[in-house]
């Protein structure tokens, strides 16, 4: 529970730190749309290079962005594999039969055990995983014994377009995640909400109060760590009364989850009531015009960011409409 950072803001002083949150949010939004307008693998590769360029300009370390990729790593692998298997256009590259038979399954299980055993040493985890993956594919393709009982066989076909599309989709995802990481790494949560509030303020005309919306977001962001802290304390208090969250029957476990949830709710309500009182005692009136300690100001950097976004968006649109004719 200690490893959770919300917002992921890391203090620094690169280029993007000084950009106004409004132009950053709007810029990232339009850049993402632009990336979806691109249809070609070379175009998205170009966009990826440009995104890395942004990282270099902003002096943001690649390692931090890679860390941000970690949670969606499995998603990336899945999209990659599915695209390869499903897309059936272009020239055929690989066409083999996978024999799923008793001995083969046994061999794969042995390989799996070896992999899990080696994984205990915790080094080259990823390489080991790849080794396991390719090892099992190898077994399914090439091992066939005459005395074996074949359960079923599966025709594996990989097409040129499939590989291209899978790389295309993965790169597109990479760009989008890198862009959003730039935004969250370099913008304080408070600035982010203030920016959102300002950007959404035209919606007031149709009855959407962006100030309330921003307040709700900033309060919830502010209270996430607090609530985690409280949850930890409740867990310890109940563990001290013998609540064992790891073992026991399902019914007991349910009871123990309830013993966490109810104090959690009550404490959350207590907290919110206290917060409301504290805000009211400092004369907070919802909907009233307020001044701020930090006013948002545009600078030449915002012009640069906006110009970059407009050019990028325009080029992407032209590609999409085939005007550039390539």
């Amino acid at each position: 529970m200690n490893g959770i950072i919300i917002g992921q803001f890391i203090p620094g002083d690169g280029f993007f730190y000084k950009v106004d949150p409004r132009s950053k949010i709007a810029g990232i939004f339009f850049l993402m749309i632009a990336v979806f307008l691109l249809k070609d693998i070379y175009q998205v590769l170009g966009a990826l290079l440009l995104t890395f360029g942004l990282l270099i300009i902003g002096k943001i370390s690649f390692i931090k962005v890679l860390k941000g990729l970690k949670p969606i790593f499995i998603l990336l692998i899945f999209t990659f594999v599915f695209q390869i298997l499903i897309n059936r256009q272009g020239n055929i590259l690989v066409d083999t039969n996978l024999n799923i038979s008793l001995i083969n399954i046994g061999l794969v299980i042995i390989l799996f055990v070896i992999w899990r055993f080696l994984a205990k040493f915790k080094k080259f985890n990823f390489l080991l995983f790849l080794g396991f993956l390719f090892g099992s594919i190898f077994i399914f393709i090439y091992s066939s014994f005459s005395f074996d009982y074949n359960l079923t066989s599966f025709n594996l076909q990989i097409y040129e377009k499939g590989i291209e599309m899978s790389i295309f989709v993965v790169i597109r995802l990479l760009i989008i995640i890198t862009l959003s990481t730039i935004l969250t790494l370099t913008t304080k949560p408070t600035d982010l909400t203030q920016g959102l509030e300002s950007l959404l303020s035209p919606l007031k005309k149709i009855g959407f109060n962006s100030e309330d919306f921003a307040l709700i977001i900033s309060i919830s962001l502010r209270y996430i760590p607090t609530i985690f802290d409280e949850a930890n304390k409740i867990m310890q208090a109940q563990a001290s009364r013998g609540a064992d969250f790891s073992e026991g029957k399902l019914k007991e476990k349910l009871k123990q989850v309830i013993s966490l949830l109810i104090p959690m709710f009550i404490i959350a309500f207590m907290r919110s009531e206290e917060l409301a009182d504290a805000m009211e005692s400092r004369n907070f009136v919802p909907g009233k015009a307020r001044t701020r300690i930090h006013e948002l100001n545009y600078s030449y950097r915002d012009v640069l960011v906006t110009a970059f976004t407009v050019v990028f968006f325009a080029v992407a649109l032209l590609f999409r409409l085939n005007v550039l004719g390539y």
Partner: protein, 286 residues
């Protein structure tokens, strides 16, 4: 031997400024019976962290804690049943809101015993006894714990631990947030439980008056280190408390002040207000 700390250090991991050291190289022995210990120290001195080690809620990052012959180290040991340790050493948290959750007081007190696989009837009896022990009569058993006053909630949370019948009882600031009279009633209650059952009781507190009046042993923490372990009497007589960010008991403060301003020669080491008054009367200035 009940609980033994062998050079225990604990660091909390933190994002902003490295690891925060909560306690540092603490060695401490606590007997399984007949001890009545005050654990004192200013806010943030590591008292609560020390207390959480006593029933293996958190593990030391260095050193080890021996709790009823089970050795707790940095790593979780599959051979140790941590729940059994928690049955033997009961820890009452500072805020009762963190543990009350059932719809009736009695059910809430029964939660602990039931977790240790005690039959429902027996748990019920234990709970009723515990309720009596903390000075609440049976009319409370069907009330909603959230509709009680602060002091009553505290008593119910203490009863929740007492019903588990632990050998050692650790209480994190049980008297905080109570009025002076309520504090005394609660302290008398602990003293009474201690006398009747001979259980070792460890109480975390800020209140030096209570430490001086009630306890036979004081353990002082400062900046994560254990700086004093001995009787409260010699703590107040022979040690400079300001170094440890602590205060003297009111009786000592008042009598010392009188000695200074009126040039008297009173014996300042009086445990209760009544004793202090008698000392003043003896001097014949009233």
């Amino acid at each position: 031997m009940g609980i033994r700390f062998n050079e225990v250090s604990h660091k909390y991991s933190s994002f902003s400024d490295g690891n925060l050291s909560a306690i540092y190289q603490v060695s401490l022995k606590i007997k399984a019976k007949d001890e009545f210990i005050a654990l004192v120290g200013h806010t943030g001195s590591g008292k609560t962290t020390l207390a959480k080690h006593m029933n293996a809620l958190i593990f030391p990052t260095e050193g080890n804690v021996e709790i009823f012959n089970k050795i707790i180290t940095k790593k979780r040991n599959r051979d140790i049943k941590y729940n059994e340790i928690r049955k033997k050493v009961g820890l009452v948290f500072q805020f009762p809101e963190y543990q009350l959750f059932e719809e009736t007081v009695l059910k809430d007190i029964m939660f602990g015993p039931l977790n240790f696989h005690i039959s429902k009837e027996e748990a019920r009896n234990l709970a009723i006894n515990a309720l009596k022990l903390v000075g609440l009569d049976e009319s409370y058993s069907n009330r909603n714990p959230y509709n009680l006053s602060g002091g009553e909630k505290k008593r119910v949370s203490i009863a929740g631990i007492l019903a588990m019948d632990p050998d050692i009882l650790v209480l994190d600031e049980p008297t905080s947030g109570l009025d002076p009279a309520g504090k005394r009633v609660l302290m008398e209650l602990f003293k009474d439980i201690h006398k009747r059952t001979n259980k070792t009781i460890i109480i975390i507190t800020h209140d030096m008056d209570l430490v001086y009046e009630y306890f036979s042993r004081a353990v002082v923490m400062n900046e994560g280190e254990l700086v004093y372990d001995g009787s409260p009497e010699s703590l107040f007589k022979e040690h400079d408390l300001s170094k440890n960010h602590l205060d003297y008991p009111n009786t000592i403060k008042v009598l010392t002040h009188l000695n200074k301003t009126l040039k008297l020669n009173l014996n300042v080491y009086q445990k209760t207000a009544i004793d202090a008054l008698k000392e003043i009367e003896k001097a014949g200035i009233l």
